[in-house]
């Protein structure tokens, strides 16, 4: 019996020491949540750069649907990493953080970025 095909390569941003392992363009200054050899905006050259561990919530939502292995309720947020990119993260303990609230990366869950609320 044939086995299932492999799942696609992991496209999510990755943490190193609780910071996003990203890159910045030496030409236009664009910050990216992944390492890119060439800037995703202008194709300029880039250098690797670490962003975080703190950021600000742009928006968050409590999701009441089961999505793959994620059991509801869970909270997803767009987080503007300090000086860095906007990334999608999950807030630990399913706590909604208002827009503008401060968070920090605490690790990942099978590759999903995890943040927790911090007192600002």
């Amino acid at each position: 019996m044939a086995s299932a095909p492999p799942i696609p390569a992991d496209p999510r941003p990755q943490l190193v020491d609780r910071c996003i392992d990203g890159s910045v363009c030496t030409a236009c200054g664009h910050v990216a949540a992944r390492r890119h050899d060439r800037c995703e905006r202008c194709l300029g050259s880039t250098t690797s750069k670490s962003f975080g561990p703190r950021g600000t919530v742009w928006s968050s939502t409590t999701v009441h649907l089961r999505i793959g292995g994620l059991a509801p309720p869970f909270v997803l947020a767009y987080v503007d990493v300090d000086g860095g990119p906007r990334v999608l993260a999950r807030i630990v303990d399913a706590i909604e953080v208002p827009a503008g609230g401060a968070v920090r990366f605490v690790g990942d869950d099978n590759g999903d970025l995890l943040v927790e609320m911090v007192a600002s």
């Binding site: 949540a33 995703e40 009441h64 990119p85 999608l88 590759g111």
Partner: protein, 387 residues
């Protein structure tokens, strides 16, 4: 501009609903046959086809056309998320305007019931899809930001569903055409992704739409009715959406596309009598109307409760019931919107007719690709023949 003026000579749609026991081709044939009959042309007079669909399946466009008297013509398959059918319409319009073809059919078709048991499964090759960002949550992030940024009562979002479902109750082709819910019923329906509840989300639907596009001839009455002119049609894809963007994803792309469409037509938003816009979720209609300029930033949520966008109001939005009632078979939506506006402009919309509608705006914005402002947005302005 040396481009030719372009018109919609005929439109058609299938019934919208859940039809897992029907062949997906049959849905498209229902729409195509109605559109061709409506246009008065013979299938042999159609030169090319643009077919929008997101989930296909592969080969669908050719099977659809070969079974509807349209085999052998150049066939272009388009995937542009929720705007797939609208991009097909835009490409058909461009093809006729430039003189590449004389008569083109735009088709949109989708059968979601045989693709998904529940909501659309997020795409694992997408960074945000891999992290569990389902479509309702993507829009809920817009909604959550909106109610906080502008201090809007989340209950106002429900008013969009109340309005559009009241419109949909008048549309015999809509997926959800029963008794419309009250605001309390919308708010008390199952929570999906805060602040959106189940009745603020479009249903998972099957269906198809089609339109026959040809050069505009004001005197021509191909099948007893005069043509609807496409005054302008603009298509944009979104640039990167980054931490320096203060507006929600999609907003700037819709605003830019709308500005170009109004400029091309020489019209302003006040000139529009009726709109069909992308209300896959209630927040979508609100943000779209702000981006187009019907309301200022933060004021869009007041449009439905004020009656401005209801049937009978000054600028009715989604008289068909919108995606919230008609359903949202992704690729077909743009052509279903087109059909509704053509019927409105020809005075054939029955109980949901907008009295005296002369100018109509069509908008579809598809999103979902991580880090991108929008996958695609099309906005077209249409003018009816008048009385």
């Amino acid at each position: 501009m040396t481009d030719r003026r372009v018109s919609i000579a005929g439109v058609g749609t299938s019934q919208f609903g859940r039809f897992p026991d029907r062949r997906v081709e049959e849905l498209a044939w229902e729409a195509i046959i109605e559109a061709i009959d409506d246009s008065g042309f013979a299938p042999s007079e159609i030169d090319a086809a643009f077919v929008g669909s997101v989930f296909g399946p592969p080969g669908l466009a050719n099977r659809v056309l070969a079974g509807a008297g349209l085999g052998g013509i150049p066939t272009f398959k388009i995937e542009a998320a929720c705007a797939s059918g609208t991009v097909a319409l835009h490409e058909a319009q461009q093809a006729v305007a430039s003189g590449r073809y004389e008569r083109v059919i735009a088709v949109g078709v989708e059968q979601l019931s045989t693709q998904f048991a529940g909501p659309i499964v997020p795409e694992l090759s997408d960074p945000e899809g891999r992290a569990g960002l389902a479509m309702p949550a993507l829009y809920a992030l817009q909604a959550s930001r909106y109610v906080q940024e502008f201090d809007v009562d989340p209950a106002l979002l429900a008013e969009v569903a109340v309005k559009n479902k009241a419109h949909g109750a008048l549309n015999p082709r809509a997926h959800l055409s029963g008794t419309p819910p009250t605001r309390a019923e919308v708010l008390e329906s199952r929570p999906i992704a805060g602040p959106l509840t189940l009745l603020q989300c479009c249903p998972m639907s099957d269906g198809a739409g089609a339109a026959v596009i040809t050069a505009f001839n004001p005197g021509s009455k191909p099948n007893g009715h005069r043509q609807v002119e496409i005054l302008s049609s603009q298509f944009s894809s979104g640039p990167l959406w980054t931490s320096s963007d203060t507006e929600p994803w999609g907003f700037q792309t819709v605003a830019r596309t709308a500005a170009r469409a109004f400029a091309e037509a020489g019209l302003a938003v006040e000139d529009v009598d009726v709109f069909e816009v992308h209300d896959a979720f209630t927040i979508g209609e609100i943000l779209t109307l702000e981006a187009i300029g019907v309301a200022a930033r933060g004021a869009g949520a007041a449009l439905a409760p004020s009656g401005h966008t209801r049937l009978g109001g000054p600028q009715p939005v989604n008289p068909s019931g919108g995606l919230l009632s008609r359903g949202h078979p992704l690729g077909s939506t743009g052509l279903a919107q087109t059909a509704e506006l053509v019927w409105q402009l020809r005075g054939e919309a029955g109980e949901r007719q907008v009295a005296g509608a002369r100018v109509a705006l069509l908008e579809t914005m598809g999103g979902g690709a991580a880090g991108v402002d929008a996958n695609a947005c099309v906005i077209a302005l249409l003018r009816g023949p008048g009385s």
